[in-house]
Amino acid sequence: MTQPNHPDEKKPFPWHLVIFLAPALLIYVTFSVYPLLDTLFLSLFNTQDGNSTFVGLQNFITLITDDNWSHAFWNALLNNFMFFAIHMVLQNPIGLLLAVLLSSPKLRLSGTYRTLIFMPTMLSVVIIGFVWQLLLSPIWGISEEFLYNIGLGHYFDAWLGKEGSALITLSFISVWQFVGIPMMLIYATLLNIPDDIVDAGTVDGANPLQTFWYIKLPLILPTIAMVSILTFVANFNAFELIYAVKGALAGPNFSTDLMGTFFYRTFFGFQLQQGSASMGAAVATLMFLIILVGVMLFLFFVQRRIQRFQF
């Protein structure tokens, strides 16, 4: 630890390394790594009634099988997969279409379109949730009037208030807000495709559709995979949109409940059910495992794809 007196003995202790690295590492470990590990650990205990007892995997068994818990848990999990599926089906194709259009050669105003279409992505999910809640409100009736004007008025319904349509509507709102991200990332990838490759294809007689399908799309796929995993992670800890529009109870009748809102209710309690730190930790642990599996699959998939491109 002390400064060595003989210069040829050993290098001095690299204090500069500690000073550069320690502050970031200390804060990151204290407020991110440690709480996560502590949460995983806590999920093996029962903290009810003020004392903490080790219960092994009992919390998870309760969540998955107990009558009081399992219904809510599976409901939130299935809803979450539904939420993610709607994102995948809509967000990537719309983003891809917009990106392809934006990258058309010599397109005027391309920068303006890009900036404007990306705008909702910048705003808080909470604000966006409220904005759409107002727009879709049957009391204000602005959407109803709009649909009447284009001749679809009788399709209008209080979508956010009905069990069958609330989750789908919220997914649409979320897609509407975040479609800017796939658009931007795919657009960037398209711009980075070297002209030579496309020109070579054209010289060999490929029409624009073939050029897109056989040359550009394979090069965009890794970007789409990355957008998908970002969406997956974001969807499986989504909370704000549901909380803003439907509250912590994720109504009507829990039909918009996601893992995030389920976690919040489990941890803090609601109505007659008391909040529980250890059950909350168990839900967070399951969310962690789901996200981890998703990320692993992504790394595996992308790794293989990159290798394939190298040959």
Binding site: L25, F31, L107, M122, S124, E240, G280, A284
Partner: protein, 286 residues
């Protein structure tokens, strides 16, 4: 191919194609902006006009600022904005400084544990910090930081560091070794090398990191709701959420509150959109 299109700029096929492209992009731009614009224009209208003519612009008859007055009267919007500003600026500033220092240490020096620490930071890019909320809350209570802005700043630094370290490390790698080697030959200290040579070179990458770090912090509801829900420490996002929840039926106030939350962000976005889009499209997040 390019020469041909260059000579025939206005062939009918090209014109119709470009019209279609513009039509689709314009239609989508309307879809993207319409909801936001409707909220903003109605915030300036009387209750009657909001319901009778929701799409009309406010005129001399229907124009009113009553909603804004009510919002400013019944809630402390100034304080909420100030809290958000303090938290965001402190957290982003520290993420940039500490992130740059760590990125430099991890890429420049070889030492035991280097890979492990880099991996630990990389994990944080994908694993959301929210999953540790149960323990973060009890930690903050133990540290006596519940309901303080400090708690939010600390959590947001931890949240922002992984991506910052990653992007800045990539950037540090592109700095030529000769620069630092030359400085070391002249016996310049490691601190001076970092603060006087490296840090200025990192500026463009830091701008990108700043934007990516700032947006989620400013927009966050989760941690303000859980760690600092008190009236004194409310951030703007939480403040709006609480206000709208409380005055749901008062349309003027709700629309005005949303407008007050939206407009500053839109102004900042318009100013910094170039920077942001360059960051997104330069491959910084790939």
């Amino acid at each position: 191919m390019k020469i041909v299109t260059g000579f025939l700029p206005s062939s009918p096929l090209n014109v119709s194609k470009s019209v279609t492209v513009h039509a689709i992009l314009m239609a989508y731009t309307v879809i993207a902006l319409f909801p936001i614009i409707v909220v903003i224009i109605n915030a300036f209208k009387t209750r009657k006009a909001i319901f009778n003519d929701p799409l009309g612009l406010p005129d001399s008859d229907s124009f009113t600022l009553a909603g804004f007055q009510e919002v400013l009267l019944r809630s402390d919007f100034g304080l909420y904005s100030w809290n958000s500003l303090v938290v965001t600026l402190l957290a982003v500033g520290l993420v940039l400084l500490l992130g740059a220092m760590a990125a430099w240490a991890l890429t420049e020096y070889k030492f035991r544990g280097n890979f492990l620490i880099a991996f630990l930071f990389a994990m944080g890019i994908m694993i959301p910090i929210r999953l540790g909320t149960v323990s973060i809350l009890s930690l903050m209570v133990e540290l006596d930081l519940a309901n303080t802005l400090t708690a939010l700043v600390l959590v947001y630094i931890a949240q922002g560091l992984p991506l910052a370290v990653y992007i800045l490390s990539e950037f540090v790698r592109t700095i030529p070794k000769e620069l630092t080697e030359a400085a070391r030959c002249d016996a310049v200290s490691e601190y001076k090398i970092f603060f006087c040579i490296i840090l200025p070179l990192l500026k463009p990458a830091m701008a990108t990191v700043a934007v990516f770090t700032m947006i989620p912090i400013w927009n966050d509801l989760w941690f303000p709701l859980i760690l600092a829900p008190g009236e004194e420490t409310r951030t703007i996002t939480l403040g709006v959420q609480q206000f709208v929840g409380q005055y749901v039926t008062n349309w003027n106030s709700v629309l005005s509150a949303l407008t007050l939350a939206i407009v500053p962000v839109l102004i900042l976005y318009t100013i910094f959109s170039r920077q942001l889009i360059r960051g997104l499209t330069s491959g910084a997040v790939k």
